[in-house]
């Protein structure tokens, strides 16, 4: 197997809050392979957006990356200066944000957004040349040429999202991180957007990380899936293996929760309980309070990742050896 294009090793991200420190990303390791679309899934507050931002080292105080390494282009990003990170951002690592409406400067024309990005990273380029490139890119993404001089508020949501992609691609980034890119879009526009992503990935050989809480999107477009829960990675695998043979109890619960038109039952399945507060998280495996298969060892020791398929692993004691796998006695609440 080739070197991953981006490799996260034992990353920790903490936030200081009024009531104490919160560990939003807790010892997460993840490899991202070149040319793949990786779907990073989880509930709200599980840490996936934080992870995405951490990849560009855009965690602002009171948050901070408190440990771990991130390898990209042969260097650990944690060792770079802010200046060096700035040269990477936009150019080799880029991000598409959730809400295209608020992500664009209302006072700048669309074309100027792209021109500015180009000229920041390639100071030798003249404004006219940058404008041409902007025009090219925009039309490639389906934005009409006569509209590039318009302001953001004159575009629809779907078009704005295309502008965001254009910005991410303006400099042929290696890795594009898309944070909830379709949440603000309606279903039809969402489908178009996902098609576009696939085309771009094929045409430019991009690596895309899609962060989403919508497992349907992941099923549509991803090559590999990574599931996060309460700041930790629960399950990672190739998409076919994941959906065909879901292993981690949380992922299983997730899939069961998605309503299905073929469903025969009257009741929707819901997982009991709710995501834990990250201020005082449950000890050891974070999912054990809600897990139907919880065992004693789940309350005492955090499970490592276990290989459960050819390109599939899950962090669960069900698939690992442990002396005390006695089932947890439950008191019916």
């Amino acid at each position: 197997m080739t070197e991953p294009v981006f490799s996260i090793r034992n990353l920790f991200v903490e936030y200081a809050t009024r009531d104490g420190d919160v560990v939003a990303v807790d010892d997460v390791s993840l490899d991202i392979r070149k040319g793949e679309i990786l779907g990073l899934v989880g509930e709200s507050g599980c840490g996936k957006t934080t992870l995405g931002k951490a990849m560009l080292r855009m965690i602002q105080p009171p948050g901070r990356i408190s440990g771990g390494e991130m390898w990209f282009g042969g260097r650990d990003l944690m060792t770079l200066t802010e200046r060096e990170m700035q040269t990477l951002r936009g150019r080799r690592l880029s991000m598409v944000f959730q809400d295209p409406m608020t992500s664009l400067n209302p006072l700048e024309k669309i074309v100027d957004h792209i021109v500015e990005t180009v000229m920041t990273h390639e100071p030798g380029v003249t404004e006219a040349a940058a404008r041409d490139r902007a025009k090219d890119l925009a039309t490639r993404l389906g934005i009409l040429e006569n509209r590039i001089d318009d302001y953001p508020h004159q575009f629809s949501g779907g078009m704005r999202q295309r502008v965001m992609i254009a910005l991410a691609l303006a400099l042929n980034a290696d890795v594009v991180i898309a944070d909830e890119p379709t949440t603000a879009l309606d279903v039809i526009v969402e489908a178009q957007f996902l098609d576009l992503l696939r085309e771009l990935r094929d045409e430019f050989n991009l690596t895309i990380v899609i962060i989403t809480h919508n497992i349907g999107v992941v099923a549509e477009v991803a090559d590999r899936v990574a599931v996060m829960y309460a700041g930790r990675m629960a399950e990672v695998g190739e998409v076919g293996e994941f959906f065909g043979d879901t292993r981690h109890p949380y992922s299983q619960g997730l899939l069961k929760s998605v309503p299905n038109i073929d469903m025969a039952e009257q009741h929707l399945y819901t997982m009991t309980g709710s995501p834990p507060s990250l201020l005082r998280p449950p000890p050891a495996c974070r999912f054990h309070p809600r897990c139907p298969h919880a065992m004693v060892c789940c309350t005492t020791e955090q499970p490592r990742f276990a290989e459960v398929g050819s390109d599939h692993s899950a962090a669960c004691w069900l698939y690992l050896e442990h002396p005390n796998k006695h089932p947890l006695e439950r008191v019916d609440a």
């Binding site: 560009l56 855009m58 700035q86 040269t87 990477l88 951002r89 936009g90 150019r91 880029s94 991000m95 944000f97 809400d99 608020t102 992500s103 664009l104 400067n105 209302p106 006072l107 500015e116 990005t117 920041t120 990273h121 302001y151 508020h153 004159q154 965001m164 910005l167």
Partner: protein
């Protein structure tokens, strides 16, 4: 030419030219906006003038008795009341009042030489403008600069330093600051004069055509007069400008902080745009929009401060005129001066809104 009219021309003509330029070069929606906005000014002036009218009439206290004092005999009082039209029904008075405003007929002063109030205002309005304009510019410069620095250095020592500055300087009564500056720079150090617009002797050499001393001295090439005028402007402008800057520092800081937390700033950072470009081109430009509208509201503070500053520095402007006339119970002059202030406020409001629309494209479309 009537001095008030002259003043309005001096301000109005360049403004008008600018307006016409925007009109011609702008898009149709811009034009529509300008027309609508100008049309709205009229009701605003109307409302303010009405407010002035009724406040001065509803409140107890008889202006005629106040003006003449106890020595006026009943017949003289009656005569004066008739002359002022105070014995007519209130609606007729109101109508006459509005009519007078349009023709700039502000009646005659009840005291002294009974000069037409519009003449006296005409001489003093330029003085107030010559004080307010540089003070505002100073306040803006300091305010925007300090405010942006404070926002960019959030939670660090300099942020608190700038915040403390803005709060302390606004807490100082403006007349106190004026007195202190007078004491320090005027008397103790002797660096700047503490009263009047221009040295008395030099002032006699100046041909006052427009009553804008700066303009007049430039027109006639009287450089000593210009120097004296600028010298006299230093302390009053500093006083008014410093106190006002406190407000602007606060406003700018808050707005820049809020803007820096907007998504498009995060997105710009994610594209590697340099920090100072983000601060100035994204945050500041966007933050300026609410700040500029709020500048319009600071006009109230500006004029209030002007009244006090003019009193401290014996600056012969409209503010000091108002205070003097109140002491001498000159009802006509008081009413007219306050009306004049109201018109002033409406005009500035109009100017600010048009500038605002130039900056923010969302408003026009």
């Amino acid at each position: 030419m009537h001095p008030l009219l002259l003043t309005f021309l001096i301000i109005g003509v360049p403004a008008g030219i600018g307006l016409v330029y925007i009109f011609v070069r702008g898009t149709s929606s811009m034009r529509r906006y300008i027309v609508t906005r100008i049309a709205l000014t009229l009701p605003m002036v109307l409302i303010l003038a009405t407010l002035v009218f009724f406040v001065l009439r509803i409140l107890p206290g008889d202006p005629v008795t106040s003006a003449l004092g106890p020595k006026g005999s009943p017949e003289v009082k009656e005569q004066l009341r008739e002359n002022l039209g105070l014995s007519d029904p209130i609606l007729i008075q109101y109508g006459r009042f509005l009519g007078n405003i349009v023709t700039f007929d502000f009646g005659e002063s009840l005291v002294g030489a009974h000069r037409p109030v519009s003449d006296e205002l005409g001489e003093r309005l330029p003085a107030t403008i010559e004080l307010i304009l540089p003070a505002t510019v100073l306040a803006l410069l300091i305010g925007i600069l300090f405010g942006t620095w404070a926002a960019a250095r959030r939670k660090r020592a300099s942020d608190y330093g700038f915040r403390l500055y803005s709060v302390v300087i606004y807490a100082m009564p403006i007349f106190w600051l004026g007195l202190l500056l007078q004491l320090l720079f005027g008397k103790v150090l002797g660096w700047a004069p503490i009263a009047g617009r221009i040295d008395a002797i030099v002032g006699t050499t100046l041909d006052r055509t427009t009553n804008f001393i700066v303009i007049d001295s430039i027109i006639s090439g009287n450089w000593t007069a210009l120097g004296s005028a600028l010298h006299h402007m230093i302390l009053p402008t500093l006083t008014l400008g410093l106190v006002l800057s406190g407000v602007f520092v606060r406003l700018t800081r808050i707005n820049v902080i809020e803007t820096l937390q907007e998504d498009y700033v995060t997105a710009a950072n994610a594209r590697g745009i340099r920090k100072h470009a983000v601060t100035y081109r994204y945050a500041l430009k966007n933050a300026m929009i609410p700040v500029i509208t709020l500048i319009g509201l600071q006009v109230a503070i500006l004029l209030a401060g002007a009244v006090l500053t003019e009193t401290v520095f014996s600056w012969p402007g409209m503010g000091r005129y108002l205070v003097e006339r109140i002491s001498s119970r000159d009802f006509t002059a008081v009413q007219s001066t306050i009306t004049m202030f109201a018109i002033f406020v409406a005009m500035i409001s109009l100017a600010v809104d048009i500038i605002y629309s130039l900056l923010d494209p969302r408003v026009r479309y």
